[in-house]
């Protein structure tokens, strides 16, 4: 790479960074670490990894002929990055992932298939990754920031798919460089809606009609039960993929207690909590610990025409302030989902009644209660799951309560 080319590439990275963060950097803060021409010519694709303040930034540059009119996925998102001279002459550069033509071209290039026109829409665009729904061509995920190792969420997804867990869009191509995950192509998911949106639909109906959640038209019960079943199947698949080891329940109690003490010590003095902890401390038993999802909430799931899928495996079992997946009780994921039900009922109530005058809390509690029962029934009713949770329903109930309490003091 010539000095001129290096400078030009750094300019592209700076423009990309500025678009993403709104902040400007000095050119010296950027070091180009990798360049790979994914597709030569015009339109072309150039993959770049650059080091910025010790982090590895990853962008795919679209190379268009000067004068080409790019089509961006969202107005206001017009990520033109600058100009670049290469063997094919001067190129007008865009962020390929925001370019309606170049993003599917990237997907086709990665998969080694002929590009096809078709729909494309942004599913998610944040610091963890950009996910594009490219219709029947599949889903394309590209990571804008690279960790020093493989992505735990991708590891988890790939492992689960290998052991036959079918509530997931199967990975079709894992895009890697050294030990870094650059991106991923997954099989298409038809007609998805986020679990959060489906839950809110149910809650809006209940809050408008009143009465019992069972009698409401938008009852979420059957969906909650199916979610519970899916979660149990995921845990059984994790067990097959990564194995398990026994841990004393007392250790889990201590860890949760420590978490509460640090974040919300007053909770420890609450009579219900005191009683719960007392009951758990006497449970002189060991139960299986497995790798878990780590943040299993409604937003990580999608309802599709084929049922429920886990659409987002972040953080892949890595808990807050940790760097590696930590085995824990599968019931911690259950607690996360139950906590998410509570979050949904609260959010829907705030939407409808910001002042709290309508007294929707009781309805919300009834909704949570019904769907907790349904979700737990789906989870605990799944054949084989008792081998992971232990056979004692009282202990399971107490542990779920404990993990949910610990979840409640973590940021949403």
């Amino acid at each position: 790479m010539t000095l001129e080319q290096d400078a030009a590439l750094r300019t592209l990275v700076l423009a990309w960074y500025s678009h993403r963060s709104g902040a400007d950097l000095a050119a010296e803060a950027v070091t180009i670490r990798r360049t790979e021409v994914l597709r030569p010519g015009r339109p072309g694709l150039l993959d770049l990894v650059a080091e910025i303040d010790g982090r590895l930034a990853h962008l795919v540059v679209g190379l268009r002929s000067v004068g080409d009119e790019p089509h961006f996925l969202r107005s206001g998102d017009e990520l033109a990055l600058g100009l670049l001279e290469d063997d094919d002459g001067l190129a007008f550069c865009t962020d390929a992932l925001h370019d309606a033509y170049l993003a599917p071209l990237l997907l086709a290039t990665l998969r080694g298939v002929e590009p096809r026109p078709g729909r494309i829409s942004i599913v998610r665009d944040d610091e963890d990754g950009m996910v594009l729904d490219c219709g029947d061509r599949g889903d394309l995920t590209v990571f804008p920031w690279l960790a020093d190792r493989t992505d735990p969420a991708v590891d988890l997804m790939v492992a689960l798919e290998r052991v036959g867990f079918n509530h997931v869009a199967a990975p079709l191509m894992r895009w890697q460089w050294d030990q870094h995950d650059l991106g991923l192509v997954q099989e298409p998911i038809a007609g998805r809606s986020s679990g959060w949106a489906v839950a809110l639909t149910s809650l809006r109906d209940l809050y408008a009609s009143g009465g019992s959640p069972e009698a409401a038209g938008g009852d979420f019960g059957s969906e909650a039960q199916a979610l519970g079943t899916m979660l149990a199947r995921m845990h059984l698949a994790i067990d097959r993929a990564f194995g398990r080891h026994p841990e004393p329940v007392a250790e889990w109690v201590e860890m949760a207690e420590a978490e509460l003490r640090e974040s919300e010590p007053s909770l420890l003095a609450a009579p219900d909590v005191t009683e719960l902890l007392a009951q758990l401390r006497v449970a002189d038993t060991k139960l299986p610990a497995i790798r878990t999802h780590g943040d299993f909430q409604l937003e990580r799931t999608s309802r599709t025409d084929q049922g429920w899928v886990v659409s987002d495996f972040r953080p892949g079992g890595v808990l807050p302030s940790m760097f590696e997946p930590v085995p824990r009780s599968p019931l911690a994921d259950v607690a996360d989902l139950l906590w998410s039900l509570h979050q949904a009922s609260t959010a829907a109530a705030a939407e409808r009644d910001p002042s709290g005058r309508l007294g929707l809390a009781k309805l919300g509690q009834a909704w949570e209660s019904r769907n907790r029962r349904a979700m737990l029934s789906g989870y605990l009713g799944t054949p084989g799951i008792a081998g992971l949770t232990g056979p004692h329903r009282d202990l399971v109930g107490h542990l779920v309560g404990l993990f949910e309490l610990a979840r409640s003091v973590r940021p949403a």
Partner: protein, 496 residues
């Protein structure tokens, strides 16, 4: 096809002795143990498929009520007579037949007695008669089953032209109550692709109960809880109510369900009275709750009959909401805002959009679970009107005459599915795409659709011909009123 009444002269003769001319026209046996694998369909009223006959001193076979004995199709005389009957009605000008209870024509040891090869062979025999002597007439199978099983009744295009799609119907009701599209999209995803010469018959209600045979136990409980709050509304394994009362007489919801019926792939079948939003009478026995006299006018007996009221087999509805004085054809014809007029208009619009009948369907992704959006598309043929013949103005009319034969190129007499034009018609073939967006929720909903594939087209709202903003590569935003729906004819730039 499967049975007659026990009052039918054939059965009366058949039961009279074991050696009369029609002794083998029905299925008789000395005990009631044969064919134990055949399920009892109406488990709430029948304990067995066999009933003892005191006259003949034998059991007779019936898959439904005991007063509906099954015909014995293994007797060639019966099969031939049924073919003769079909011909009799076709000679009178009938357009086709709904083959009632068609899966149950034959019985075989060790089987469930449903969907047997012999049944399919008999249907092929009827079809052959139709093709040879009555082209254009149709056969419609009433086979309550899963689409992949029922599709067998299409054969290789040599059995029925149409099959009822039973599992879709309860899911339409489930979707509007749940306010989410998944009950509908799930069953569509499980519906097999069928031969071009065949079609599903889709419906909202019919003369039987709203059957819940093809749903899970949980969904059945849900449907009963939502739509049959009074236990008297339950019938067999379903709900004995008409469309309007099921929907609490809600006009918006009724229109939404009809919009789905008319735009989903299939031939819509409308039950008499539902075009008026007629009610039901759940206090009448069995399925009679939905079989009350048609309400033609506010006159005696709703204009259905001049007989004394007491002589009617079933009483007409007379309640203040659904009674014939309030709901009748005559009154609705006078009122331009009536449901009857609305539905006629919808049917007219549907006819003008051939892709609704024969086009492909693609469900479009939408993050909002309450929105069901799909594209109906396919090739159509505009049949051009001869010069001077008044015709429906076409969207392809140029803004100004430019020296071309304006009348010939701009007037479309009618639009038909490609391939259905007449040999002498002058046609212009084109691709038609109709975007259908439905809000299954009682609340207004936003929909953001990825329509980049149709970028450059202008969506014209079908009912008002109002142009909406041009489709671009960016997500297309639509706002839908509660239970609202919008159909858009997508007109490409070069036709605009």
């Amino acid at each position: 096809m499967n049975h007659t009444s026990d009052q039918h002269p054939w059965f009366i003769e058949s039961r009279s002795s074991r050696d009369n001319a029609k002794a083998d026209w029905y299925v008789w046996n000395d005990d009631d143990q044969r064919w134990p694998d055949a399920r009892v369909v109406f488990t709430d009223v029948e304990r067995s498929n066999w009933t003892w006959d005191d006259v003949r001193q034998q059991y007779y076979w019936h898959r439904f009520y005991h007063h509906q004995p099954d015909l014995n199709y293994d007797n060639p005389e019966v099969a031939d007579t049924m073919i003769d009957l079909v011909r009799f009605w076709l000679d009178l000008g009938f357009d086709g037949f709904r083959l009632d209870a068609v899966p149950y024509l034959y019985q075989r040891d060790g089987t469930s007695g449903e969907h047997l090869p012999e049944t399919h062979a008999f249907i092929r025999r009827i079809r052959k008669q139709l093709e040879a002597d009555y082209p254009g007439r149709i056969l419609l199978a009433e086979a309550n089953g899963w689409p992949s099983d029922v599709a067998d009744y299409f054969g290789d295009g040599d059995e029925c032209h149409l099959c009822f799609h039973f599992p879709l119907m309860p899911r339409l009701f489930m979707a509007v109550r749940r306010e989410q599209r998944y009950p509908i999209t799930e069953i569509l995803a499980q519906t097999p692709v069928i031969n071009d010469s065949c079609q599903w018959a889709i419906f909202l209600r019919n003369h039987d109960e709203l059957t819940l045979e093809q749903v899970t136990d949980e969904d059945r409980d849900y449907m009963i809880a939502e739509y049959a709050k009074d236990p008297r509304m339950k019938r067999h394994m379903g709900i004995g109510r008409r469309l309007a009362p099921l929907l609490d007489n809600d006009r918006r919801m009724t229109e939404l369900l009809y919009a789905l019926l008319l735009s989903l792939p299939g031939s819509p079948v409308i039950y008499y009275g539902d075009e008026l939003m007629m009610g039901d009478n759940i206090y009448l026995g069995d399925r009679d709750s939905v079989r009350t006299p048609m309400q033609w006018s506010p006159d005696r007996n709703g204009g259905f009959s001049q007989a004394d009221f007491a002589q009617l087999y079933l009483p007409p509805l007379m309640d203040p909401v659904y009674g014939f004085s309030a709901v009748n054809v005559e009154a609705q014809l006078r009122n331009q805002g009536s449901f009857l007029h609305w539905l006629r208009r919808m049917l007219t619009e549907r006819r003008a959009l051939p892709v609704m009948g024969v086009g492909q369907m693609e469900v479009l992704p939408c993050p909002n679970p309450s929105v069901l959006a799909y594209m109906r598309s396919g090739e159509v043929a505009d049949v051009l009107a001869p010069v001077g013949v008044p015709a429906r103005p076409s969207m392809v009319a140029p803004a100004e005459a430019d020296g071309r034969d304006w009348e010939r190129v701009s007037s479309t007499a009618r639009t038909v599915p490609a391939g259905n034009e007449g040999a002498d018609d002058e046609v212009v073939r084109r691709f038609q795409a109709v975007l259908c967006v439905h809000n299954l929720s009682r609340f207004a909903q936003p929909a953001e659709l990825s329509l980049a594939q149709w970028a450059g087209s202008t969506p014209y709202e079908v009912l008002g011909r109002v142009p909406f903003p041009l489709i671009t590569e960016e997500p297309y935003a639509i706002t839908l009123p509660p239970y609202g729906f919008l159909w858009f004819d997508l007109v490409p730039e070069d036709r605009g």
